[in-house]
């Protein structure tokens, strides 16, 4: 779920659709749809624009907000079938939905921003990524002020390990690649020190070396904060148009 430190190719364009089916404690199913456009400006910079659609609130599906995301890869050391990369990223999101939990999530729930650092190490078929970020929630304008009694900022951290399982030997770009990934995602609210830690195993299929399907399950391991629907299934589709811009 976390972006790697690597960027998409320069002058390429990507589309992504993330679908999250999250289970509320009372059995209600929240569906979040997050369509996303991605642009590799050059080898160092990429930007994303994303929309947030969900049926979580009363009244069914609604476009609740959107965000802009930028990533700057500032360090890259490549060797044969290995690399180490570091990047800085930032996201600014708008959301007009009600504020319903202590967890801060600028992807689809809170208006606010996130600024972070991510490092990725690739060693042959294994990739390890870790990120650290600061996230700040603002008022969900126009109707919902962020409660002054709650912590409006948090530290997030992630650690993920992924491995290319198939094919064992490459013969063409048409072979389906299968990756397995395990990710830990944590948050700590700065003012009241409440925290959570989730685990998210996932399987990734890469088709024709150009399209990607991710299927993940996110499960809370522990939490001391109020969260509406931490557990659920995430299905992500992605397609890259290479050399889309001259």
């Amino acid at each position: 779920m976390t972006e790697p430190a690597s960027n998409m190719p320069a002058k390429s364009f990507g589309i992504r659709n993330m679908n999250a089916l999250m289970f509320e404690a009372d059995g209600k199913l929240n569906y979040h749809n997050m369509p996303e456009l991605m642009w590799g400006i050059n080898k160092k910079w990429m930007i994303h624009a994303q929309g947030f659609i969900s049926n979580r609130q009363e009244g069914g599906f609604e476009t609740e907000g959107g965000s802009l995301y930028a990533k700057y890869r500032f360090f890259s050391k490549d060797d044969l079938k290995s690399h180490f990369r570091m990047a800085l990223y930032g996201r600014y999101s708008l959301n007009k939905a009600d504020i319903h939990q202590q967890e801060i999530e600028t992807m689809g729930h809170n208006t606010g921003y996130e600024a972070g650092f991510i490092a990725t190490q690739l060693l042959h078929k294994v990739a390890i990524s870790s990120s650290l970020s600061y996230e700040k929630a603002l008022d969900n304008k126009p109707n919902y002020k962020f409660p002054i009694t709650e912590s409006n900022s948090a530290l997030n951290y992630t650690l993920s390990v992924g491995k290319l399982m198939l094919p064992k030997v490459y013969t063409s770009y048409k072979q389906v690649n299968v990756n397995l990934m395990l990710e830990l995602l944590g948050q700590r609210l700065n003012e009241n020190k409440k925290s959570y830690l989730d685990i998210a195993p996932s399987v990734q299929f890469i088709i024709n070396s150009q399209a990607r399907i991710d299927l993940a399950y996110r499960q809370e391991l522990y939490s001391s904060m109020i969260r509406t629907a931490p557990n659920g299934v995430i299905l992500k589709f992605e397609y890259t148009f290479f050399n889309a811009f001259k």
Binding site: P9, D79, V169, Y173
Partner: protein, 169 residues
């Protein structure tokens, strides 16, 4: 005029009319998966003078065939691999040469670009010959550092972006 000729001879610079670059074998670094390889392939194939690219996914190597009678700009290959998000680990270029003297610190000019031999045994090269580009960004860091430490033998190697340093294989 005579003076100029003497200088040219002293510097052992020759311009060869019938020479050309036929093919290149490029090993990209920093990638394993086929999506990364395809990103690199698509960048390389977008170079106007490139006719065909044959990828070897298991070794992250690309054999690049150039259009005949079209000048080849080596730096485009490096730029495109870097645009894909990766780096060049090795670049071997197949030149067609005509009785070219290969000796350390001697050079020749092809399509206004100077290629200078270093780390090479003295030889006369004729026909299709493989030459490895040794400049920074075209070899792995370890190899670059080793050659950079030999600056007393190859004074132009470090900090000279106008010429390519090559090794006859």
């Amino acid at each position: 005029m005579k003076k100029l000729l003497t200088i040219a001879l002293l510097l052992c610079i020759t311009t060869i009319a019938n020479s050309q670059i036929i093919r290149a074998e490029l090993t990209a670094t920093g990638l394993t998966c086929s999506m990364c390889s395809k990103a690199t392939y698509n960048q390389l194939i977008s170079i106007p003078e490139v006719e065909k690219v044959e990828p070897d996914l298991n070794n992250t190597t690309f054999i690049i065939h150039f259009k005949s009678n079209t000048p080849v700009t080596i730096s485009n290959l490096k730029k495109k691999v870097e645009d894909a998000g990766f780096a060049v680990g090795e670049l071997i270029v197949l030149f067609k040469l005509d009785n070219q003297l290969a000796e350390n610190n001697t050079s020749f000019v092809l399509d206004n670009i100077t290629y200078k031999f270093i780390d090479t045994k003295s030889n006369i090269l004729n026909g299709e010959v493989k030459l490895k580009i040794l400049d920074k960004g075209y070899v792995v860091d370890k190899e670059y550092k080793k050659l950079a430490n030999m600056s007393n033998q190859y004074p132009s190697y470090v900090g000279n972006n106008n010429i390519y340093h090559i090794k006859a294989l």
